[in-house]
């Protein structure tokens, strides 16, 4: 094994992973800040603005506080499961980022291509869906091992909610795959160079947005945590760093969903209105940098929409939520899938 091959298979991915982890953790922390801040603006107040300029150091202060807090394990809890449950929650949320291409690959001289992705798996979407659905284990385990009733309720709700919304979500993603003809995320993004899929697949996009909100347990579908009913939901008994894990996992999921929606429906890093070739002719780095910026802007816009929804709507009830999942979203997603398949088969042949 030569040094080059070692670098290709171990070195570079490791470096990328470390960079990505850092960047993602940073983004997630600041997502919390952005959310609190924007939520404040929507509610006619200013949000956190005390720690540092504009409250920018707030996430760090929060993190420090959580690290320094006592880690309480309730007497009724099952200590082992209680301890590892947060890991189950946070790992899938972060692993999902591995397959997302954040920018167009950087083409340096002599045709060497550096993709901006940890690993562009050819079954990327499938990997993503299966990994993210593992997150529910963290929640169920937390609820079960806490030995307390509110978390139990929260986790049961969460399990059924995630199961029911995974299906419309997957179906809506399937129609994207049909359109693009590939499971690979970079291929899907490339297939959107003319038109983001959000326009032809408006139904699928709608279903995706709604089920994504449900998947990430946010208002109006934040039943597992339903603050007013279940105190804190599945993480009621957690404190300190373990609670922070859940918190981070939740927001990592939010960021992940935003990134995935950007890649699948909003054209990913494709720069609108400017042909790729002209930019490439200008400077290869420019393409990548602009692509990264465009990706970021799209993702942040999506996040803004998310927060906006949270600021506006009340919460559904448990049974209503499941009914919407099975009786509204699922048929729509199926219909959409058949439509797309039909169009693809007979019209776009």
């Amino acid at each position: 094994m030569t040094f080059e091959s070692l670098m290709t298979y171990v070195g570079w991915p490791l470096i990328k992973i470390v960079i990505l982890l850092g960047v993602v953790a940073f983004c997630v922390a600041y997502t919390v800040y952005i959310e609190r801040r924007l939520l404040g603006f929507f509610q006619s107040r200013v949000g956190p603005n005390r720690v540092g300029p504009f409250g920018l150091i707030q996430p760090i202060a929060d993190g420090l506080k959580l690290i320094l807090k006592e880690d309480i394990i309730p007497a009724n809890a099952q200590p082992f499961l209680f301890r590892i449950a947060p890991i189950f929650a946070i790992v899938p949320a972060f692993v999902g980022f591995a397959i997302i291409s954040f920018a167009p690959p950087l083409v340096t001289g002599a045709g060497v291509v550096h993709p901006f992705v940890v690993k562009d798996v050819n079954l990327g979407i499938l990997f993503l869906l299966s990994i993210t659905s593992l997150g529910v284990f963290g929640i169920v385990l937390a609820g079960w091992s806490s030995g307390s009733k509110y978390p139990l309720f929260g986790s049961l709700r969460s399990a059924s909610q995630m199961l029911s919304y995974e299906i419309p979500l997957t179906l809506s993603v399937l129609s994207v795959i049909l359109m693009a003809g590939s499971f690979r995320l970079s291929d899907i993004v490339d297939a959107q160079s003319k038109l983001p899929f959000a326009i032809p697949l408006i139904l699928a996009f709608g279903v995706y947005v709604i089920s994504a909100v449900a998947e990430t347990n946010r208002i109006p579908f934040d039943l597992p945590e339903g603050e007013s009913e279940l105190v804190g939901g599945f993480h009621t008994e957690y404190s300190g760093m373990r609670f922070a894990f859940y918190f981070l996992a939740e927001y990592a999921n939010v960021v992940l969903v935003c990134c995935v929606a950007t890649s699948l429906f909003l054209g990913g890093y494709k720069i609108p209105f400017v042909p790729y070739e002209t930019l490439l002719a200008a400077h290869p780095i420019l393409v990548s940098a602009l692509g990264l910026a465009v990706f970021g802007v799209k993702a942040v816009l999506f996040l803004y929409f998310y927060i906006w929804i949270r600021a506006t709507f009340p919460r559904y009830r448990y049974d209503q939520l499941l009914r919407i999942g099975w009786m509204v979203l699922l048929p729509i997603a199926l219909l959409n899938l058949f439509l797309v398949a039909g169009i693809k088969l007979w019209l776009l042949r």
Partner: protein, 382 residues
């Protein structure tokens, strides 16, 4: 476990294994949705509520007993602590009772000023209620909008009587001071702004399908049941029963004003919500009329002895509090201290309706129902 299954299982160990039991869930006293230290022990069959037991008394301060050791005047501020989000109304109830006992004629201007402050307090109470009720159902923005408007009322109170929450607004006999300069203008500005804000809340809630699904047909209580349980206030009117102390047993010049009593139709959470929202609009109407027709005159009756020493006897007087009929029962033995005091606190009695509302519903509806009752634990426990 269905009956057939149970029959099939007979007395076998399988039966024991399949047996399901109800789960007991402690709802409170420290719980985000109980609006204070209220505790409900729920019996749950899955997510369905099959029984509820209210446990109260965590905020008991013995106010009724306390009053027996204080003179009539000194007892005034303590009644603010009953329903601390509608303090002025409590105060009005108490001073009204003593005035009735002593047959004091409150000057007309003082009565009108009391009406103005009362209605402002009612709006403030309903705004806070709206916010917290919406927050219980997940719509957190309404809380902040409601608090924002309530803040203006609080500032008006502070300028008028000096305190924001527990104002000790009225002395026995009338009011202490007239409106400060510019107060009326500020109040009118607020009154001009509020209807638009109420429209916004209704856009956020009344027409929102999630809100409708969460509130329509939930916690239904019929008019007859509500009357039988002694409910009052918006909780009763939500069930379509026309009873408003301001209309039915007028006090403090309320007969001078032209306003409607909004009624609900089905007696569900939505009706109780919409009744309160409409009530705020009616309160604005009363305010408008009271400010426009404010008579001139003294603020305190001319001959009022410094020491309040009512004749022996008993008296019951009630006002339309923020939560319902707020009644005071006083027994005087001719000394300067009440011999016995009892408060008919609407929150306490409205809480009786909770069982009718929640049994058979889901856990999430318990929250909606508690919210729709608008209880304040200071008043429930006294």
């Amino acid at each position: 476990m269905t009956t057939e299954l149970r029959e099939a299982a007979g007395t076998s160990p399988l039966r024991k294994a399949l047996e399901t039991t109800t789960m007991e869930l402690n709802f409170g006293p420290q719980h985000p949705a109980t609006h204070g230290v209220y505790r409900a022990v729920l019996q749950l069959d899955g997510e369905r509520v099959v029984g509820i037991e209210s446990i109260i008394g965590y905020l008991h301060r013995g106010i009724e007993k306390w009053v027996e050791y204080r003179t009539y005047t000194k007892a005034t501020p303590i009644f603010d602590r009953l329903d601390y989000v509608g303090a002025i109304l409590n105060c009005h109830g108490y001073v009204g009772t003593v005035e009735k006992l002593m047959k004091i004629e409150v000057p007309k201007r003082a009565q009108y000023i009391r009406v103005v402050l009362d209605e402002l307090q009612r709006i403030a109470n309903h705004l806070l209620w709206l916010g917290t009720h919406a927050l219980d159902l997940g719509a957190m923005t309404v809380l902040f909008y409601g608090l924002r408007e309530r803040e203006v009322i609080m500032d008006l109170f502070e300028a008028m009587v000096g305190q924001r929450l527990l104002q000790n607004a009225y002395p026995i006999g009338g009011v202490r001071l007239d409106f400060p300069r510019g107060w009326e203008r500020a109040c009118r500005n607020f009154m001009a702004e509020l209807p638009h804000r109420l429209d916004e809340y209704e856009t956020l809630l009344s027409s929102n399908r999630m809100w409708l699904q969460r509130t329509k047909g939930i916690g239904v209580i019929s008019g007859a049941e509500a009357v039988a349980l002694g409910l009052s206030g918006p909780t009763l009117r939500g069930s379509g029963v026309y009873f408003d102390v301001r209309k039915c047993i007028p006090y403090g010049s309320y007969e001078d004003f032209d306003f409607e009593v909004p009624l609900g139709e089905n007696g569900d959470v939505y009706d109780r919500y919409i009744v309160r929202v409409r009530e705020m609009r009616q309160s604005l109407r009363i305010l408008q009329q009271a400010l426009d027709g404010m008579p001139e005159g003294p603020l305190m009756p001319e001959k009022l002895s410094k020491i309040i020493r009512p004749p022996a006897g008993e008296v019951y007087f009630s006002v339309e509090g923020a939560k319902g009929q707020l009644g005071y029962y006083l027994v005087s033995d001719g000394t300067d201290k009440p011999w016995k005091c009892h408060v008919r606190s609407p929150s306490f009695i409205n809480l009786q309706g909770l069982e009718k509302m929640v049994v058979g519903g889901l856990v999430a509806d318990v929250v909606a129902n508690i919210g729709s009752l608008d209880i304040v634990l200071g008043e429930v426990d006294r």
